[in-house]
């Protein structure tokens, strides 16, 4: 049974070792469980500690965001999506306004595009830091080494929240992107604060690495665990670090440049192994790459206005032509797409239908394929390595 899996019920790993006459146990892993990263439930069919089958259930955090966005005007939608992927609100806003800009054919000034790049990369660092902390927490426990890494990562993430607060006034709900540009320009001296922060962050990432990716217990826990091969990754529509950890060289920032990524090129981090360790390595390297990108973008930050102005002044009057667009960006978790169908005429003030393509949902769909054959201890590691954010999965 060591061949490739054709269905979620068929495991690729070690299932041949399972006793055919075993009494199986059903374990409901979540929705109230410390390591499900929110409210998420996996029904595990166990033989002892070995998972035979895993059935994920999402939807505990459904808030009807898509429906809500269809009831609001285009400009009113932005603060709503902050809470979708609550670990990287900036990316949510950007994915939404980019779709609206495409639909309403609004140009974004060059300075605003640079600022969006800087925000998006800082947000990527913050998101990956939070991921590293919670991943270590999954592996080391709340009363142990895991929580030490967690505290270090959260302390450093605070720095980014402070930077965003200085620009937008909010630590979490920024509402800083508008259709056609940004709402807030950076305050005086902000770029120096960013550079000082990045200088401080680099050695601290190395410190966290020494406790995680360079630690032999971490390697023993992640190597060869939760293998997703190239075909499976592409077949499930995985994106972002998950796809790149499986050896697929794909990154929207390079392959379909938006913001200012055509002027500040990205080096894409790819790993071949496809296991939890590869996913961890990709994310840690992406943090370093993001630091480089922010430095370059700050150095080349052009002068000028930060929005085209029209929509901020008259959000109610602005109407779209009927049509449909899809815009996608590379968030810390992968391809976050927004698909909008606009009704024309009187119905042009709000989207007729809006669909958000959330990368975390696709990531969770890999669980039935990769969990069987692993132990309960590996379930939390695999789940953590997928970095799912339930707010984005359920919307």
């Amino acid at each position: 049974m060591a061949t490739a899996a054709n269905s979620p019920t068929e495991s690729r790993y070690r299932l041949d070792q399972v006793d055919a006459d075993a009494d199986l146990m059903v374990l409901n892993f979540g929705p109230q469980h410390p390591s499900t990263h929110g409210v998420f439930r996996i029904k595990l069919i166990l033989d002892g500690e070995i998972v035979i089958r895993a059935i994920p259930y999402a939807g505990y955090l459904h808030r009807g965001v898509e429906k809500l966005l269809e009831k609001l005007t285009y400009a009113q939608g932005v603060p709503i999506v902050d809470k979708n992927d609550y670990v990287s609100p900036m990316s949510n806003e950007q994915a939404l306004v980019m779709a609206f800009e495409k639909l309403l054919k609004v140009e974004v000034p060059r300075r605003a595009r640079y600022l969006r790049l800087i925000f998006s990369e800082l947000q990527r660092i913050a998101s990956h830091l939070l991921w590293l902390g919670t991943f270590a927490l999954d592996m080391g426990g709340a009363l142990g080494g895991g929580s030490t890494v967690f505290m270090y990562c959260f302390r450093d993430r605070e720095g980014i929240l402070d930077l965003f607060e200085a620009v937008t006034g909010g630590r979490f709900h920024y509402n800083t992107h508008t259709i056609g540009g940004n709402r807030h320009d950076i305050p005086l001296g902000w770029d120096k604060r960013v550079l000082a922060y990045l200088d401080m962050l680099e050695p601290r990432i190395a410190e966290c690495e020494s406790m995680t990716t360079n630690n032999s217990i971490f390697v023993a826990r992640t190597q060869g665990i939760g293998l997703i091969d190239k075909d499976l990754a592409q077949g499930l529509g995985l994106s972002g670090p998950l796809l790149r950890a499986s050896g697929v060289d794909h990154d929207l920032r390079r392959d379909a440049p938006y913001h200012a990524y055509d002027e500040v090129p990205v080096r894409v981090m790819v790993e071949q192994a496809g296991d939890c360790q590869a996913r961890a390595l990709v994310r840690v390297r992406e943090m370093r790459e993001s630091i480089r990108l922010v430095r370059e973008a700050l150095a080349g930050l052009p002068e000028g206005g930060i929005n085209s102005g029209k929509i901020i002044k008259m959000p109610q009057q602005f109407k779209a032509q009927s049509g449909q667009v899809y815009a996608a960006i590379e968030t810390p978790r992968g391809e976050l797409g927004t698909f909008v169908i606009a009704g024309g005429g009187d119905k042009g003030t709000a989207p007729y239908r809006l669909k958000i393509r959330a990368p975390s949902l696709h990531a969770l769909s890999a669980l039935p394929w990769i969990l069987p054959g692993h132990t309960i201890s590996d379930v939390v590691v695999v789940l953590g390595s997928l970095d799912p954010i339930m707010g984005e999965v359920d919307r």
């Binding site: 146990m25 374990l27 709340a142 142990g144 080494g145 929580s147 505290m151 406790m211 826990r221 132990t375």
Partner: protein, 329 residues
């Protein structure tokens, strides 16, 4: 008759004294651990109850006493209620034979080391009782893991202690210390095996007292809280206290049989100071490891034990026997 009564009263008095001292030491051991962990993590730790949170253990105890006592549906009430009591009892009973200096010892058994190891080994029974009686799948899995781990790591723990017994020729804890005062601490004499035996003992100790990287039975990120998932209030508190007492007594035993107990570089300071200092250093080092490392997976833990620790301790035991027979005389 007179003598028996005298011995009986003395036993009660010593018992109360041990419980008081051990519980007090444990409570502030917890405070110490929280402070150390906080310092490692850029936090302050307990700060508000008393000076730098010194009264936090008291507040915690009061909080636990006030909590509702919940018996889960379908639980086996006798086993469920008995398990925390037995766990705390066995843990505290090990403290009875620990000599804190040449004079300060409640009960200087001829087989003190055996008593400690036996009680440590029997701890697995109440832990399994708790796991089974809770009627909870997480507790059940935690209990199964705990049994597997305790039984496995009991082997290197006993074997490495036997190295000390073979060298010193006695199972009395004060006898072991007196031998070391005469011949040098076992950690450096004879050269080599002592330090390895100490390190193996230390690792087995971490596993026996369920500390990271070996805290698989609790594994709160996997098993919610393992065996103590369904326990509330003071019953949970007893498991908690037992864990700390276990660690503290384990540290004391390690100090006694490998680090020379109350022996120190100079003797004008009473032996108690050296013994307490060594115990506290080992106790703190357990938490240093705990708040630094991640956790192993249970099968990796078993592999580590049976493929490395057990053969190495066996080899050490053989070496000790050969040394004592041919060289030490």
């Amino acid at each position: 008759m007179d003598l028996i009564q005298h011995g009986f009263l003395r036993g009660i008095a010593y018992g109360l004294l041990i419980i008081t001292v051990v519980m007090t030491a444990t409570a502030w051991g917890m405070w110490l651990e929280r402070k150390i962990a906080a310092q490692m993590q850029n936090r302050m730790g307990p700060m508000f109850v008393g000076f730098h949170g010194l009264l936090q253990p008291v507040a915690d105890m009061l909080k636990l006493l006030q909590k509702e006592d919940i018996l889960p549906a379908g639980a086996d009430d006798w086993l469920f209620n008995l398990a925390p009591i037995l766990t705390a009892l066995f843990a505290i009973a090990t403290a009875a034979v620990v000599p804190w200096s040449a004079q300060i010892v409640a009960s200087d058994l001829d087989v003190g080391l055996l008593w400690v190891l036996a009680l440590g080994g029997i701890m697995v029974v109440p832990v399994w009782m708790a796991g089974w009686a809770s009627n909870n799948k997480f507790a059940l899995i935690g209990g199964m893991r705990a049994v597997a781990q305790s039984v496995s790591y009991g082997v290197p723990l006993v074997l490495t202690s036997m190295v000390a017994v073979v060298f010193t020729g006695t199972m009395s804890l004060s006898g072991i210390v007196q031998f070391q005062m005469a011949h040098g601490w076992l950690i450096y004499w004879p050269p080599g095996p002592g330090i390895i035996a100490f390190l193996l003992f230390y690792m087995a100790l971490l596993a026996e007292s369920n500390r990271i990287p070996f805290d698989i039975p609790e594994a709160e990120s996997e098993l919610v809280a393992g065996i103590s998932t369904e326990y509330t209030g003071m019953k949970f508190g007893m498991f908690y206290v037992a864990e700390y007492v276990h660690t503290m007594v384990g540290s004391a035993i390690a100090a006694l049989i490998f680090l020379g107990g109350w022996d120190g570089p100079f003797h004008w300071l009473p032996g108690l100071h050296w013994m307490v200092a060594k115990t506290v250093i080992l106790f703190v080092s357990v938490y240093w490891v705990r708040w630094t490392l991640l956790r192993f997976r249970s099968d990796q833990l078993m592999r580590l034990c049976w493929l490395y620790l057990v053969p190495m301790s066996l080899a050490l035991l053989v070496f000790a026997a050969v040394w004592v027979t041919y060289f030490a005389a």
